[in-house]
């Protein structure tokens, strides 16, 4: 529970959304909750993306990121990068 969280970009396969979800935001939220269940602090979603990627960004522990990467419908889980002005 003392693990540090970092931001990850989670890419989802939009077409793989299970039928029980009404929209993708709901599916993303459920996916996020499923990897942080049982932890003292829930993983937090920062953004849900829909136009340039299907997925979301969230604060995850390394373990949560790893678990997320193994879930059905998850294409990739990439750690956040810091860019600089040129």
């Amino acid at each position: 529970e003392t693990e540090q969280r970092a931001t990850y970009i989670v890419h989802m396969a939009k077409s793989a959304m299970p039928a029980e979800y009404a929209d993708h935001g709901e599916w993303y939220g459920a996916s996020l909750r499923s990897v942080s269940t049982g932890r003292a602090a829930a993983a937090k979603m920062l953004y849900s993306y829909d136009t340039v990627l299907h997925g979301f960004s969230a604060r995850l522990t390394e373990q949560e990121a790893s678990d997320m990467a193994g879930m059905d419908g998850v294409l990739a889980v990439n750690p956040e990068t810091r860019y600089e002005l040129h």
Binding site: Y47, Y49, T51, L53, L75, L85
Partner: protein, 662 residues
């Protein structure tokens, strides 16, 4: 900007670019540090109603009302969740939780791309004139994704997500970082979807030059922009006690420097630190520099900070000497004390004088603005260079544009140096970087999109690239030079060359590309289905098992051949050939184009088939192949360059060629 419209041939050529109707409806989205909406560069006089297709918004926040937008600045949003999640709550006494630009960079870049014309613009009298963006009738939407602590990819993606959904036609990103493969690079990911939705994405190449293989933003669906100089300088003279006079640059405009000779000291001799020559904070001994002009070496810390360090230590002035990393390139800054930047040669001479003289003295004379400087453009020393380390078979950068000593609008929250100690406030500032060249090209792309709304992002880029020049227009064919070395620059430095918008509007032929072409490119790179799906947002894109993919077949407007010595290509056993296939689309009148191709590398030949292409109608497509044959292997690191040009006598459709051995 002042001067760049003239330098690019845009002044008085408004008729080439229709600016009414759909032409004025191009929206340039700028992802940067926000906007200073009070700047006259966002005056909307003469602009029609905001396009009905526009879905953007003007987000209110700290010191920023939703009424800050108008018919020029039609959108302003901010994205800070990633930043604050990583760095903690922002210090709202230092930065605004709103689209407000606290830094100046975003105001500078967006006004460069599409700022309205502002008469009597200048910085302390320097670079005076009418400042305007490259597409002065285009609309601007700003997406603040960069903060004092940097630009975080979750925020950048959110900004790109919004910008594309809002209806931007061009995105301008003067930022970069790392060199991850495309499936992990957020800018590349966002740009792919933008491209797919008919949005051109222009990015800065980076300021990591002049070293080779230093590029950012090299995905082939991104237009990658390096930087060149203008034909404008801000000369300053360093007159030494021995009578020698050296020319440098300065934007100093404060209290007049002493007209009498002032004691001169090298910072390396005024410090106990091993890096004292760099005038890093806390390294100068006040008792040694008090009242003297201090010679500092360029590097590591910001140029303007060195001036502040000298002033803080009691120095009377500063000579900022380039090192080998910068060569003779002169970048001007609005220093807080009398200062002049000088080239490496001049710096070496001045330091030699100090070493040889018991009581060296100097006088700094700031001489104002000079135009019609030749030769120009030069490739900026700082501009990042190829080869492309992610995909060596794609030549990057694509193009260069003005990026040195560029005047454009500035924030009211920071002084021209950006230093906290700089309490001056200016409406315009002069700064340098590929950050400055990128929005030039973004604005020019908006102009082309206004003139040719039917062109794809790739067609617009192709037009910009194939009409670029790599020799001086007024220099009898002399090659563009590299400011870092003084020698001829190469396509690794300037890509296709320097942008020439008046030719780009009528390129004759274009190399077009679409989503499926880029997916084929990813297949050639052996990306997994998941990587492709993450990039392309769909599982429906994939690689066919029975199809052969090759990077060389990507219909790119340039050629890069990367031979590998390790793999024995063109080894002792004989010649090796690499064949590229391209397809040209006619966007002009009927015509017969003939090819001329050559490479300046012994043992390498280039053969184009067919050598003649006949187009009878607009929209017609014709393919050709280029075969590069290397007779023998070359040592690793060997490079050669050339050019392939199709011409019908009226148009020249030119592509750079780079051949490397790794």
């Amino acid at each position: 900007t002042t001067r760049t419209p003239e330098f690019l041939g845009l002044a008085g050529s408004e008729g080439l670019f229709p600016q009414s109707g759909t032409g004025g409806d191009v929206v340039v989205g700028v992802l940067d540090t926000g906007v200073w909406p009070e700047s006259k560069s966002y005056d909307d006089a003469g602009l029609g109603e905001v396009p009905s297709s526009w879905k953007g918004t003007c987000m209110a926040g700290t010191d920023f009302n939703s009424s800050a937008c108008n018919r020029k600045l039609i959108g302003a949003r901010f994205f800070n969740r990633g930043y604050e999640a990583a760095m903690g709550p922002m210090d709202t006494s230092r930065e605004s939780r709103s689209p407000r630009d606290d830094d100046g960079h975003g105001t500078h870049t967006s006004s460069t791309a599409a700022g309205a014309a502002v008469a009597d613009a200048d910085l302390f009298g320097f670079a005076s004139g009418t400042a305007r963006g490259m597409a002065p009738k285009a609309r601007v939407a700003v997406y603040k994704v960069c903060w004092l602590g940097g630009c975080f990819s979750s925020d950048i993606l959110a900004g790109m997500d919004a910008a594309v959904a809002d209806g931007c036609g061009v995105l301008s990103l003067s930022l970069g970082g790392g060199s991850a493969d495309y499936a992990r690079d957020s800018v590349a990911i966002g740009a792919f979807a933008a491209m797919e939705q008919n949005v051109l994405v222009s990015c800065s190449a980076g300021n990591a030059g002049p070293g080779s293989a230093t590029l950012s933003n090299v995905a082939p669906w991104i237009t990658t922009v390096g930087a060149g100089t203008l034909d404008r300088d801000f000369p300053a003279y360093v007159q030494l006690g021995n009578g020698k006079n050296y020319t440098g640059v300065s934007l100093y405009a404060g209290k007049a420097p002493p007209s009498t000779p002032t004691p001169l000291i090298y910072a390396g001799n005024a410090s106990n630190s091993t890096s004292g020559n760099l005038c890093m904070p806390g390294t100068l001994s006040p008792e040694k520099v008090q009242g003297k002009i201090v010679v500092c070496d360029r590097g590591i810390s910001a140029r303007v900070q060195k001036g502040f360090v000298v002033r803080d230590a009691g120095g009377a002035g500063m000579v900022l000497a380039n090192t080998a990393a910068n060569g003779q390139e002169l970048v001007a800054d609005a220093h807080l004390l009398p200062a002049a930047g000088v080239g490496e040669k001049e710096g070496t001479a001045i330091k030699s004088y100090i070493a040889s003289e018991s009581k060296p003295t100097a006088t700094i004379v700031v001489a104002g603005t000079q135009v019609d400087v030749r030769p120009s453009p030069l490739v900026a020393a700082f501009s990042s260079r190829g080869p492309n380390m992610i995909t060596p078979e794609i030549l990057k950068p694509d193009i260069i544009g003005p990026g040195v000593n560029i005047l454009a609008a500035w924030t009211g929250k920071a002084g021209p140096t950006g230093l906290a100690a700089d309490t001056r406030r200016v409406n315009f500032n002069i700064i340098s970087g590929t950050s400055m060249s990128c929005p030039h090209v973004s604005g020019l792309a908006a102009l082309l999109r206004s003139a040719h709304p039917e062109w794809s992002p790739a067609a617009v880029r192709s037009a910009l690239m194939t009409t670029a020049y790599s020799t001086y227009t007024g220099g009898a064919g002399s090659p563009i030079l590299d400011a870092a070395t003084g020698a001829a620059a190469t396509p690794f430095d300037y890509g296709a060359g320097h942008v020439d918008p008046t030719r780009a509007v009528e390129p004759g032929l274009v190399y077009d590309l679409g989503t499926s072409d880029y997916v084929d490119f990813l297949c050639a790179l052996k990306y997994t289905p998941n990587m492709i799906a993450a990039l392309a947002r769909s599982k429906s894109y994939g690689c066919a098992a029975n199809k052969t993919y090759a990077v060389a077949n990507l219909n790119y407007p340039s050629f890069s051949v990367a031979y590998s010595t390790a793999n024995g290509e063109a080894g002792d056993s004989g010649a090796t050939t690499v064949t590229h296939t391209r397809t040209l689309t006619n966007v002009g009148a009927a015509g017969t184009y003939k090819v001329d191709a050559s490479v300046s590398m012994s043992g390498v030949t280039v053969d184009v088939k067919p050598a003649k292409l006949e187009f009878t109608a607009a929209g017609e497509k014709k393919s050709y192949t280029v075969t590069f044959t290397a007779a023998k292997s070359q040592p690793s690191g060997t490079a050669g360059f050339g050019r392939l040009v199709w011409s019908d006598g009226k148009h020249t459709v030119a592509s750079p060629i780079a051949i490397t051995w790794t």
